[in-house]
């Protein structure tokens, strides 16, 4: 009988042991196979928006490895290094394990009990509400919270504390993509998903370093390209040459912020050469312009595009843009059997983020590169649960669970009735968006904020004034987190949270796929799951404000065991009462169904039967999306029933070139852009604690084009000052044929103050999405000294 793979691996482990010389330390990756007394627990990766499925190996209650799940449709068993190692955070010596409190921010923290901590948190919020009104308090959550956590906290804030001051860090990363999808397609989140990567014939990767930010998806694109080198084309559009460019047939390098012209120029070529899909346009699309979304004609669109010739784009974009290059890119895009666009922060974190999203979506609508296999306009989500938790379950100030705009009275009434709270409980106006929220702390208007699983003290653009604001005693700050950060050091109350696999809950990834992670190990010390923390806090708030409605918000969850029954009850309420009849209908994706799946369920999936097949691979397509069938209005195969477009059409937007908020001038002559690198996640509070990852990128660098470096007398490793109108950093230089001339690129993971690049970035934001323009501002560059010994830094 042929050996099974598992047997082979066991045998070969014995064979290779003889050749293995080295110390078997706790935490190596060498023990991937099951042995006696070991168990493997399935869940999702804790890091990026890909949604890799993993299994955590546990022996005697302690984790020892992670492996990929081969059957998962997200990652097919593959992992990046962050996915391999994040389990090291479980049981790490630096974990927060007890509640910590100080009345004033100048005092040292003291350890207190949970009883005292919850009382203090409730008193602080209750006092703020009594003295200053309901909008004097806020919740700021995260795309890394479980959906159950986000849903519960926003219910307590809206239904309980009667405020829409509910925000999350996806405002800083995905809000423009949300705005783009809503205005282009009438509904948030991609129409297709990862299965399109394996069938695509053209990839248009713009404003994304997929190789480092979504490595396991990049692997699929790389494989598709390398297996079909002649028939699959890859276009990489980025002012910076990155690791992603290695598989590109064409790299389009343009001045930061000029990509609106580039995208319009591609549309111009498509129109001029009649490469658009007339049938698709006449069946499914309209053209719109202006703040009042006025409908215009195709002829108006053609006229609008007149200035955007490829030759004009060459002048606007600079870089290596050529007219022929634009023509070729447009032809590849339009004529391929299936084109997938992918983008991330280079497009979203912009003053014109929504417009840039619209212009990418425009190309897909124009050419009919949508809805069919191998074609999609695929916004890459940065965080593991920005979609599932924040965008879908009501985690932003202007939307209620189930993609309901808060300003719509009918929508508010639906939610109030689902919650059993009195009519009018949820305020009619949106709350403060993130930048206004932290500005309100600066002015003293906001008196209490709960910050959950995120570090605005490092991640806000132009962070210094906001750090200063949070240092004031005028705002009481509660932080739930697992490690000390640049934000816990600004708090009054630090509550230790359970980490991934120490609690149960759902993450919803980039491709509308909800996946469950069950608790596998105990949290250290007194750390607790956030759903327990929120529930207990709400009960005390109800007493302190003498408001039984607050208690009612958590009544259905009271006394439920916190490891499974509690999150399951929250998920059931959310999916059955709040997604029923909505475009993100998740009723079929119950915990028992999610537990049976190797991966998860793509919504919409109203029934368990449909969910067990994996859900809707494509939205809006009859036969694949049950809502496209049930909401069908005609015989056409695609039904665009998205809640934001009453006309059920896709909208092609006439969006002109518009400059970034701050561009180089004589005084500040360089563009600064910032971003992540593969080994680190965000503010490195997790990845910085894994020696393998820390040593790969121990501190931030600034990448400088070799020609600029030569002119400025900068050698590799030299210390360089980057200075803007707001602040400065001193970083070691990487002289690298990455950023184009006139541009530098800095990594943002470093916690050390002199290397924290958000002290330099600008906090202007998109007027529609309110997402800040992290990606572009103007700086001076100056050599400070030769190389200096640098220590990595972790709080």
């Amino acid at each position: 009988m042929k050996q099974s793979r598992r047997d082979f691996l066991k045998t070969s482990a014995a064979l290779s042991a003889a050749s293995y010389i080295g110390v078997q330390l706790p935490g190596t990756v060498t023990d991937v196979l099951a042995a006696e007394g070991e168990a493997w627990h399935r869940g999702s990766c804790r890091l990026c928006g890909v949604g890799c499925r993993v299994e955590l190996g546990v022996r005697s209650g302690k984790p020892f490895a992670i492996r990929g799940v081969a059957e998962a449709r997200t990652n097919r068993g593959f992992l990046c290094m962050k996915g391999m190692y994040f389990w090291r955070c479980i049981g790490h010596a630096d974990r927060l394990t007890h509640p910590l409190y100080r009345a004033k921010k100048s005092e040292a923290f003291k350890r207190i009990s949970w009883d005292e901590a919850l009382d203090i948190a409730a008193a602080a919020f209750a006092d703020a509400v009594k003295k200053h009104g309901n909008d004097a308090v806020a919740y700021y959550g995260s795309g890394q919270c479980l959906t159950e956590e986000t849903y519960l906290f926003q219910k307590i804030m809206r239904g309980g504390l009667k405020t829409n001051n509910v925000e999350g860090n996806p405002r800083l990363c995905m809000a423009s993509a949300v705005g783009g999808y809503l205005t282009s397609f009438g509904a948030d989140e991609p129409i297709g998903g990862y299965s399109d990567l394996d069938a695509a014939h053209c990839f248009f990767i713009i404003g994304s370093n997929t190789a480092e930010a979504h490595p396991v998806l990049f692997r699929r694109i790389m494989r598709r390209k390398l297996d079909h080198p002649d028939t699959v084309k890859v276009i990489n559009a980025d002012p910076r040459v990155s690791q992603t460019s290695r598989i590109a047939d064409k790299h389009l390098q343009f001045k930061p912020g000029s990509d609106l012209s580039l995208l319009n120029a591609m549309a111009r070529v498509i129109v001029d050469e009649k490469l658009y899909d007339s049938d698709f346009l006449s069946n499914y699309a309209v053209f719109r312009q202006g703040a009042d979304s006025k409908e215009v004609s195709f002829a108006d669109y053609v006229k609008f595009l007149e200035p955007y010739t490829p030759e004009a784009a060459v002048k606007t974009c600079g870089g290596n843009i050529s007219a022929d290059g634009i023509r070729e890119a447009a032809r590849w895009f339009a004529t391929s059997k299936g084109t997938v666009s992918l983008w991330c922060m280079g497009i979203n974190q912009r003053k014109q983020g929504v417009w840039a999203n619209n212009l990418i979506n425009n190309l897909h609508i124009l050419t009919g590169q949508l809805c069919k296999a191998g074609a999609d306009s695929l916004s890459l989500t940065g965080q593991p649960n920005a979609c599932g938790g924040v965008r879908e379950a009501g985690g932003l100030c202007h939307i209620l669970p189930g993609h309901r705009p808060v300003e719509n009275e009918k929508m508010r009434t639906q939610v109030e009735e689902a919650w059993g709270v009195p009519a009018g409980r949820i305020p009619a106006k949106p709350g403060l968006h993130t930048m206004d929220l932290f500005t309100a702390i600066n002015t003293g208007a906001l008196k209490a904020i709960w910050i959950n699983c995120t570090s605005p003290g490092q991640s806000l653009p132009n962070c210094d004034p906001y750090i200063k604001g949070m240092q004031q005693d005028t705002c009481f700050i509660v932080c739930t987190d697992i490690f000390p950060t640049r934000t816990t050091e600004l708090a009054n109350l630090i509550l230790p949270a359970a980490f991934h696999f120490e609690k149960t809950g759902v993450y919803g990834c980039t491709e509308r796929r909800s996946q469950l992670t069950r608790k596998a190990v105990n949290a250290p010390g007194e750390a607790k799951p956030e759903v327990w923390i929120g529930r207990e806090w709400a009960k005390r708030l109800a007493v302190k404000l003498d408001d039984p409605v607050i208690a009612h918000c958590v009544k259905g969850f009271d006394k439920l065991e916190e490891d499974y029954a509690l999150p399951r009850a929250i998920w059931e309420e959310y999916t059955h009462k709040l997604t029923r009849g909505r475009d993100n209908d998740l009723r079929g994706a119950s915990y028992p169904v999610l537990e049976r799946m190797a991966d998860g369920v793509q919504w919409p999936s109203p029934t368990e039967e449909h969910a067990l097949t994996g859900g809707s691979v494509k939205k809006f397509v009859k036969g694949q999306d049950p809502l496209a069938d049930s909401l069908s209005k005609d015989d056409l195969p695609y039904q665009f029933y998205g809640p934001a477009h009453a006309d059920r059409k896709l909208w092609i937007w006439l969006r002109p070139q518009a400059d970034p908020s701050e561009v180089p001038d004589a005084e500040y002559p360089f563009y600064l852009s910032t971003g992540r690198i593969i080994d680190h996640w965000h503010t490195m509070s997790m990845t910085g604690r894994v020696p393998e990852l820390l040593r790969a990128n121990p501190y931030a660098h600034v990448e400088i084009n070799p020609e600029d470096a030569k002119e400025l007398g900068i050698q590799p490793g030299d210390m360089v000052e980057i200075k803007s109108r707001r602040g400065s950093n001193i970083l070691p230089a990487k002289v690298y044929e990455g950023p184009m001339r006139g541009m530098v690129f800095a990594y943002w993971h470093d916690q050390e103050k002199s290397r924290m690049i958000n002290r330099v970035t600008k906090d202007d934001y998109d007027p529609g999405s309110k997402e800040p323009e992290f990606k572009i501002c103007a700086v001076q560059i100056r050599r400070v000294s030769g190389p200096k010994p640098i220590e990595p830094f972790l709080l």
């Binding site: 082979f8 045998t11 010389i21 080295g22 060498t30 991937v32 040593r695 590799p716």
Partner: protein, 132 residues
């Protein structure tokens, strides 16, 4: 795409290997990494090895692992848990359920030769094109 970097630590690594070839060779033979001071360890593996072992670096960089950014430490560990020869179980973190295609009792790298990982030509099959 070569990262142009002749930083101090790289030079130091090269200097050590030039000045102490015997010590380095002995260390490698014993499956150990040549000893570096703590601050010298804060340099990415590829940065030194681009200069110190350029053929290995180039092979890896051109391979699917290189393009896909599967880095040295994922197979070889870091300094405290360094191993020249990974275990098959290290491959299995990502490749555990690869469709069985191997000769019995062969180790992964006896066909998928490091660091380009193309199947050995003697086996008669190039797996990299079809393998997932």
């Amino acid at each position: 795409m070569k990262i142009l970097d002749t930083s101090l630590c790289c030079l130091l690594g090269l200097f050590m290997l030039c000045t102490f070839p015997l010590a380095a060779a002995q260390a490698a033979e014993q499956g150990e990494h040549p000893e570096l001071a703590p601050d010298e360890q804060y340099v990415a593996c590829s940065q030194c090895h681009q200069e110190a072992t350029p053929e290995v670096y180039e092979e890896w960089n051109s391979s699917l692992h290189g393009i896909g950014m599967v880095k040295c430490y994922q197979c070889h560990g870091t300094f405290e848990n360094f191993h020249v020869t990974p275990q098959v179980r290290d491959c299995a973190v990502c490749h555990e359920n690869t469709e069985p295609h191997y000769p019995e009792n062969a180790l992964c790298w006896s066909c998928h030769v490091p660091h380009n990982f193309k199947a050995d030509s003697a086996s008669g099959k190039d797996k990299t094109a079809g393998a997932k």
